[in-house]
C-alpha cells in the first residue's frame, strides 16, 4: 500500500515537473520568438503624415493651403456591387471608366487592397458611404489647393507625387522650399486587438509629426491680380502670342507680382502640357533690345567714358563693322546728338559710340557686374541663365550689337534686377520671394540680402534723368499717367531663329520704375510677337502705363510735382 502511494506521489511530482519544464521552454526559451510573432499579430506601426506648410502672400492670405481628400479602395474578397448601385457609384467616382476597368481586370486576384479613385471630396465620400457598398473603404489623402489659381501659378509651382508615391513640390516656391514645407512624418506604434481596436493597457509609442513650416512671401495678391487682368486684356488688344509682367519692390528687391500668359492652373496641372510649367521670367532667355541701352549707358556714365552732354561723333549715318552695316531701327540719324538724345531717340549708332568709348573689356565687365550671365539666386526652383561667352569670344560686331541689346540673351528677371539697380542708387539687390517662415504663430524673418554696388549713385541719378527725359519727350509721352514721373525705356528686339533673325517676329518690351525720384516699384512688360504693331512704344509701353496707373492708386502714391517739368 505504501509503495502504491509512493508511486502515485512520484507520478504527480513527475507530471508537475514536466509541466514546469514545458512552461519554462515556452515562456523563457521560446519567449523572444513568440513575442515577435505576437507583436507582428497585434502590433501596429503607422506613419503619421506631416501636414504640409502653407505658402502665404504678404497679407497672410494662403496662396497655397491643404485640403482634405479621400482615396477610395476596395477589398476584392469582400467587394460586392449590385447592378442597381453600380451606376450610382460610378457616377460619383471621377474617371469612371478607369475605376470600372480596375475593378473588372483585378477581379479574382489575391489582393486585400485595391485603390479605385483618388482626390474624392468629403461630400463625394459621404454620398458614396450612403450607398453602403460592402468591401469599399476610404483613406485620407492630403491635397493642395490654390485659392488664387492661375495668377499665382508661376510663384507657387505645384505638388505632385514622386517615384516613391510621396508628395513633392515641383517648380516655383513649392519646388525650391520643398524640404521646409514638407516637415517630418511621425510614427504611431501601438497594439491592436482582433477588431483593430487599440489595446488601452498595451504598449503605445507615438513620435509626433513635425508639421511643415508656413512660408511667408512678398507676393501682393492685389498687385498680382491687377497685373494678371491687365496682361490678359493686353494680349488680346495687341494680338500677342504670349506676354510677361514682372513687378519688383524697388527698395527691397522683393517680387510683388510675376505673371506669364498663357499660364496654367496649379490645382489642375495635369490638364496642361508639361512645357508650360517652367516660369519663362526666370528660365527663358530673350534678347532685350533697346531696354539694354540703359545698362550700357549707365556703365559708361559710371566709368566716366561719357556724360549726358557728350556729343556722338559717328551718329550721322550707318556704321560699318567687320563688313556689316549697323543702322538705326528707323533709318533716321541725328548727327551731333548728345547722350541724352541717344536714349531719347533710342539711337543704335549712338550706343555703338558709347560702347567704343567704354571699351570692350569694361563693357563686358559691367554687364557681368549687373548680374547677367549668372543666376540671380531667386528662390524659385527652375531659374536658369543664358551663358555669356568668355571675353575673347566677343567679336567687334558682337560687342557693337550688344550695346543696343541684340546678340546677347538675358532672362526677364535679370533685366528687372539690373534696371532696379539704377532705381536704387546703383545698388544691385538680389530678387527674393520668400521673406520668412511661420510655425505655431511664431514668425521668423529671413535676414535681408546684401546689396552690391554696381554703379555710383551719381551715375544712377544721371541715367534716371535721361530715362525720364525719354518718357516725357519720346514716343511714349502720349501714354504717360498725368502727374507722375516715370523713368523707363522701350525695347523692340527681333527674335533669333535657327541662326538668323526672323524679320516678322519681335519681342516688344518696356522697362522702368516709378516714381522716378523715389521709386516704389520697378516693372518690366514683354509681349511676344504682337501682331497689332511690333514696337514696344505702341504695345508694351501703353500696357506698362495702364498697370502703373492702377499701381499708383493702389500704393496711394501722390502725384509727383517734378512731372510738370
Amino acid at each position: 500500500m505504501n509503495r502504491r502511494l509512493q508511486w502515485i506521489k512520484l507520478l504527480f511530482v513527475g507530471w508537475f515537473l514536466f509541466l514546469v519544464i514545458r512552461l519554462f521552454y515556452w515562456q523563457v526559451i521560446k519567449n523572444p520568438e513568440l513575442e515577435k510573432d505576437a507583436r507582428a499579430q497585434y502590433g501596429s506601426s503607422d506613419i503619421i503624415p506631416a501636414p504640409r506648410g502653407e505658402i502665404r502672400s504678404a497679407d497672410g492670405f494662403p496662396l497655397v493651403t491643404n485640403s482634405q481628400k479621400y482615396l477610395a479602395f476596395i477589398d476584392p474578397h469582400v467587394f460586392r456591387l449590385d447592378a442597381d448601385i453600380s451606376k450610382k457609384l460610378f457616377d460619383l467616382l471621377p474617371a469612371t471608366s478607369g475605376a470600372q476597368k480596375i475593378i473588372t481586370e483585378n477581379r479574382g486576384l489575391p489582393l486585400n487592397w485595391l485603390p479605385i479613385a483618388h482626390g474624392l471630396s468629403p461630400d463625394t465620400k459621404a454620398r458614396i458611404e450612403q450607398l453602403q457598398v460592402p468591401g469599399l473603404g476610404f483613406e485620407e489623402e492630403q491635397d493642395r489647393i490654390y485659392p488664387e489659381g492661375s495668377p499665382s501659378a508661376y510663384f507657387t509651382g505645384f505638388v505632385g507625387k514622386n517615384e516613391t508615391g510621396d508628395m513633392q513640390g515641383y517648380f516655383g516656391l513649392e519646388g525650391y522650399w520643398d524640404r521646409i514645407l514638407s516637415g517630418k512624418p511621425g510614427k504611431l506604434n501601438q497594439q491592436l486587438d482582433a477588431y483593430n481596436r487599440p489595446i488601452v493597457i498595451g504598449d503605445q509609442n507615438i513620435i509626433p509629426p513635425q508639421p511643415g513650416q508656413n512660408l511667408i512671401t512678398s507676393v501682393d495678391r492685389s498687385v498680382e491680380y491687377i497685373v494678371f487682368k491687365q496682361l490678359e486684356a493686353g494680349l488680346v488688344k495687341y494680338q500677342a502670342k504670349s506676354g510677361t509682367v514682372t513687378v519688383m519692390d524697388s527698395k527691397t528687391g522683393h517680387l510683388l507680382a510675376m505673371v506669364s500668359l498663357p499660364g496654367y492652373d496649379p490645382g489642375h496641372f495635369t490638364d496642361y502640357p508639361p512645357d508650360i510649367y517652367k516660369n519663362p521670367i526666370v528660365s527663358e532667355g530673350y534678347e532685350p533690345g533697346s531696354t539694354f541701352k540703359t545698362i550700357v549707358m549707365s556703365s559708361a556714365l559710371d566709368a566716366g567714358a561719357v556724360t549726358p552732354q557728350t556729343i556722338c561723333e559717328i551718329c550721322s549715318g550707318p556704321v560699318q563693322i567687320s563688313g556689316d552695316y549697323l543702322r538705326s531701327y528707323n533709318n533716321v540719324y541725328y548727327p551731333g546728338c548728345n547722350m541724352s538724345d541717344v536714349i531719347l531717340h533710342s539711337d543704335n549708332i549712338g550706343m555703338v559710340f558709347v560702347s567704343r568709348k567704354l571699351g570692350k573689356e569694361k563693357m563686358l565687365a559691367y554687364i557681368r557686374k549687373f548680374g547677367f550671365g549668372q543666376l540671380t539666386g531667386v528662390d524659385l526652383q527652375e531659374e536658369s541663365t543664358p551663358v555669356l561667352r568668355p571675353d575673347n569670344q566677343w567679336y567687334d560686331i558682337d560687342w557693337a550689337t550688344a550695346a543696343f541689346g541684340q546678340g546677347i540673351a538675358v532672362t526677364r528677371l535679370q533685366m528687372v534686377t539690373a534696371v532696379n539697380a539704377i532705381a536704387n542708387g546703383g545698388q544691385l539687390i538680389p530678387p527674393r520671394v520668400a521673406i520668412g517662415t511661420e510655425v505655431d504663430g511664431k514668425i521668423k524673418l529671413f535676414p535681408p540680402v546684401k546689396a552690391k554696388k554696381v554703379i555710383s549713385a551719381e551715375a544712377a541719378a544721371l541715367m534716371t534723368r535721361m530715362m525720364v527725359n525719354a518718357v516725357n519727350h519720346g514716343e511714349v509721352r502720349y501714354y504717360r499717367v498725368p502727374g507722375f514721373s516715370v523713368a523707363a525705356k522701350t525695347g523692340t528686339a527681333q527674335i533669333p531663329i535657327a541662326g538668323h533673325y526672323d524679320p516678322d517676329k519681335f519681342i516688344a518690351s518696356f522697362i522702368g520704375f516709378a516714381p522716378a525720384a523715389n521709386p516704389k516699384f520697378t516693372m518690366l512688360v514683354t509681349l511676344n510677337h504682337p501682331q497689332s504693331s511690333p514696337w514696344g512704344s505702341t504695345t508694351a509701353a501703353p500696357l506698362w502705363f495702364g498697370i502703373a496707373e492702377k499701381l499708383f492708386r493702389y500704393f496711394q502714391i501722390p502725384p509727383d510735382s517734378s512731372a510738370l517739368h
Partner: protein
C-alpha cells in the same frame, strides 16, 4: 476541509480578487472601442474644419470675388483721382 478560518478567508479573498480582475478587465477591454470611436469623431471634425477653412479661402480669393461680382452683372468702378496737378492742368492756358 479548511484547517482554520484564516485559510478559508485567504481562499475567499483570492476568489474575490480573481472575480474583480475578470470584471475590471471586461469593462476596460471595451475602452479601446470607445477610444477608437472618439478618435474617429475627432478626426472627422478636424477634417470638416480643414475643409471648411479651405472653402473659405477659395471663396474669398480675389479671383473668386471678381467672378462673383461679374456673375451678378457688376462692373469695375472707374476711379478718377483729382490731385492738385490734374486740377491745375484744367485751368492751364495753352
Amino acid at each position: 476541509m479548511f484547517k482554520n478560518k484564516l485559510t478559508l478567508y485567504t481562499y475567499i479573498g483570492i476568489a474575490v480578487l480573481l472575480l474583480l480582475q475578470v470584471y475590471i478587465s471586461s469593462i476596460r477591454s471595451s475602452d479601446g472601442d470607445r477610444i477608437t470611436d472618439l478618435d474617429s469623431k475627432i478626426n472627422r471634425l478636424n477634417s470638416q474644419n480643414r475643409e471648411l477653412q479651405a472653402q473659405i479661402y477659395l471663396h474669398t480669393s480675389i479671383a473668386s470675388i471678381q467672378d462673383f461680382a461679374q456673375s451678378r452683372h457688376m462692373v469695375p468702378a472707374v476711379i478718377e483721382n483729382l490731385g492738385s496737378v490734374t486740377v491745375a492742368s484744367l485751368f492751364t492756358k495753352p
